[in-house]
Symmetry: C2
């Protein structure tokens, strides 16, 4: 077993066994998923999936819908948080246009399904064909050439979609799990929760793919596909916050074994994330009150993952450093 070999190496390094805590767990977990030791040179990549949401017409976001496009352009020109964090980690993010309003985003990977989803307060967000197309798009991006894949998202209105997915898959009450997203006040949260409650009643099927198509966003389904694809080629895939984890809910419903390939980077400040993580059985690495999305938490976790792998390769062993062991 590769994980036994990795554990043996960890226990030979000049530190009390297990004293690097979750850094050691991470290394072992990586090896189990990948079926190989952590690489010396980690080839990580980040995909930021962008799409618009028809449900924004219901007034569920503190921000105008045009911000999806503006931020996608900001990603392409390198000015957003995700760009700065990727530079710090030494990687380049891929910006994937899954369906941003206003036509193809110049400089982004064009994988558009449609110019935004439909308003799920009135009709299903997308057709079954669109749902399968979005999932397949994500799946195609997974490749064994990457040692690690990170997910991010951008889409005004997508905490509404993610909350609806949480309620439908996990049976939560919208009043208990609806949060502020990018900055709603209490009245706004109540309204958003009510929109979700009505939509859940309008779309009663709880068949996994129906749920995904009724409430999902194209970016969320692409992330679900990326998880499925990563699992099939044994590439560990790092979730960001509330939106990317809602994609993991889809995977849990469709093909739960694929969640074995998932690493959870952080617990977000978005209200429903705690419940969502519990439902996924996840214990994320960081808890920094982030609520930005874009993959920002995933890349912060990458900084720790890079450090963990370097510890694994570069620390001296007890024998090399002539350090006595305990009994």
């Amino acid at each position: 077993m590769i994980s036994d070999l990795v554990q043996k190496r960890l226990d030979s390094l000049t530190k009390p066994p297990g004293s690097l805590g979750r850094m050691e767990e991470l290394i072992v977990r990586y090896a189990q998923i990948r079926g190989a030791e952590p690489p010396r040179q980690l080839r990580a990549t980040a995909y930021v999936f962008c799409a618009d949401h028809g449900v924004v017409a219901e007034g569920v976001s503190a921000w105008p819908g045009e911000v999806t496009r503006q931020m996608a352009l900001n990603f392409v020109s390198g000015g957003a948080a995700i760009n700065v964090l990727c530079r710090q980690a030494g990687i380049d993010p891929f910006i994937v246009d899954m369906g941003v309003l206003g036509g193809p985003v110049p400089g982004a990977l064009n994988r558009r399904i449609a110019p935004g989803t439909r308003n799920f307060a009135r009709e299903p967000a997308m057709t079954a064909e669109q749902a399968l197309g979005a999932i397949e798009t994500g799946r195609q991006l997974a490749s064994r050439d990457h040692d690690l894949i990170l997910c991010g998202d951008m889409g005004i209105g997508n905490t509404t979609a993610a909350t609806a997915l949480l309620c439908a898959y996990a049976g939560c009450d919208p009043a208990e799990v609806t949060g502020a997203g990018a900055g709603l006040d209490d009245a706004g949260i109540r309204h958003k929760s009510e929109v979700i409650r009505r939509a859940l009643a309008l779309h009663p099927s709880r068949e996994p793919l129906d749920v995904a198509a009724c409430f999902g966003g194209f970016e969320i389904l692409a992330i679900a596909g990326l998880i499925l694809g990563s699992a099939s080629v044994r590439v560990p895939v790092v979730m960001d916050g509330f939106i990317t984890c809602s994609a993991a809910l889809i995977v849990k419903a469709l093909e739960p074994a694929a969640l074995d390939a998932v690493l959870y980077s952080h617990r977000s400040a978005e209200r429903g994330h705690r419940v969502m993580l519990e439902f996924l059985g996840a214990r994320p690495l960081l808890d920094l009150d982030l609520r930005l999305g874009e993959g920002s938490g995933a890349v912060l976790a990458l900084l720790l993952i890079q450090a963990a792998f370097r510890l694994y390769h570069e620390m001296a062993t007890f024998d090399q450093a002539s350090v006595s062991r305990n009994d």
Copy 2:
């Protein structure tokens, strides 16, 4: 106020206000301590203070006392966890010999007070002069030339010293807060707790400097001095885990205002650390079940601090990126 200026810059960046959570808090807190914006090029430095502890004669550690020296040599030759993490962060650690058994550690900064403390189960660990000397040594290392100072420690037996300091300063029961240190079993923990209980009775004075001299280690008092010195020149100083925080207890007793300069990197797996952090009013950045010391958690936090400062300087503003604001 510099913190108002920094907050204004943070709120002009292309993200929902506050959505970077504790990363934003960290930036504001840094500016308050330093009295300046976070620097573009962060000149951080790490000091790892090493010393031996006479109380090891009581059989309180899972590791032989000679390991302090062996690990100090490992630090000097670059093979320990702290070295690897510092390389990842792009800084060089200074190894400070405060009193390692077996004579000066070649390649370390020689600031030796004595070859280890005395056994505090029988007599005070050090004299008042030695205590003041160790504090002064740490104080001298603080300099305005650094933008950020990180602390680390090495000393077999030093969780016993730190636990005794916690009990004496915070009035805790040793049976409630004594932990496994670098790997004691339950019987070992009970014995260690009993040694501490007897020592607390043997040295009844709770005068701040008496407590530090009776139970402290030279490395712990040097860290207390480094905090005092850093506060006086307004350089933020990053604690590591249980040992460095026990130095903060000394500072809290001697000159509590100096704790305003302290940043707490992580919550350690060592049993008493939670209580210690609560007593200090601290909310650390990370919670990774680390229990290594050396400054390892402080340098992991530095990776996030570097990322936070880069976000502050490099993210585009709403105006620069032509992104709409919310109302």
